[in-house]
Subunit: 260 residues, 2 copies
Amino acid sequence: MNVTIIGTGNVGQYLIRFFSKIENINLQICGRNSNVLHQFAVECECATVDSIKKIDTNADFTLLAVSDNAYKEVIEQMPNVKGIVIHTAGSVPLAVFGAKFNRCGVMYPLQTFSATRKSDFKNIPFCVEASDTDTLNKIHKLSKKLSKDVRFMNSEQRKVIHLAAVFACNFTNHMYSVAAKILESQHIPFAVFQALITETAKKACEMNPVLAQTGPAMRNDQSTIKSHLEILESNADLQKLYSFVSESIANFKKQEDIND
Amino acid sequence: MNVTIIGTGNVGQYLIRFFSKIENINLQICGRNSNVLHQFAVECECATVDSIKKIDTNADFTLLAVSDNAYKEVIEQMPNVKGIVIHTAGSVPLAVFGAKFNRCGVMYPLQTFSATRKSDFKNIPFCVEASDTDTLNKIHKLSKKLSKDVRFMNSEQRKVIHLAAVFACNFTNHMYSVAAKILESQHIPFAVFQALITETAKKACEMNPVLAQTGPAMRNDQSTIKSHLEILESNADLQKLYSFVSESIANFKKQEDIND
């Protein structure tokens, strides 16, 4: 089976590594960064091309892993390929392909990827969608080689999942960043939070996070909130963020109390 | 050794369970909830009293695990005890004891506790502080029975840690709650986020969270941000929260770029 992966960013690099481990796949990768191409040519023994114009038009699957806002332009530049064309983005609808390809679909791995970290695909949910039933079956079968957890999700559902993932992953990580900055001011290593962060994440996975909520905003402990805002006095941005998230927690609690 | 624990809330329950497993400790617990007292009398075979006036004034250690804003009142009501009096709150200074007790200190377990979850104390950092060196040594030795990770932190440092913990734990959990609500609107189970949440937490523990930041706000991907705000159109509170956290991520990135 011939598979081409276009893009060597965070998601692309994960896909390349995982596809290279599957038997009977001839992998071709396409990217602009010649160092990265060379690295993968050696590490994964795959063919490389440095331009979209040069990709294998006979590949069974052509996967796009580019920036969300680069999809339109990349698709326009693609030659007409015979196999199935797949994009991997959470927030990009299937319609981005327009009428350019007969058989197209989506394979969205619901995970955060960093170039420097290796992680296993097996437990990552893959959200799949396609132009027609036969293509969907083929994409489903391909995804099953990478993950145990493949789910059918249409563009609308995937868009909502992507939005929710921004809260659960990007915004969560920002809260960690703020915590790290605050600790830094007292020369306390962020490692002291390892048990707290691990338990908070485990709790959310094992019980409803709305019910797992703790802290001064949840308890409406105004004197602690006031004392925290005083510590943040020299940083108006963090002070506003603290107030805003605390109010949002209080609003959520009010909603829950009403629904009780 | 005689230990009394005052308070049977989330933190109190954890302390009771862990102290009851340590050999040669006679445990007395004090609380207002008679059901909880009875439950622990059976489960942990410890003595119980339902009023602060009745606590053992000869205990070697008397631990307070009450609400942050109840400390003053509870301390006023306490009889004069001969041993060491310890509070367990992150945001309450050692000075809350005033001149009431000769020997007092703090033992703050840096973790989020829920009554329905059991977790191991061994990896939880305990932040300790005391009125004098001898008391500090005794509290350190006691804490070492519960955890491998005992750290000396004064009231000022502990207050900052508690503030940072609000971001890393309470605010993080709120982001999970918002994500759960958004998924609910499309009838998508929150379990689909398990791999994402686990990886985000692991990443933050293994690399600097400021460097681990991903997502549309980090990439300054305004078209995705706009499309997300459109999905949230019917919820002004979440729309504001999304904008505010996104701006805060952008501000952090600007700071990092300046410091590069």
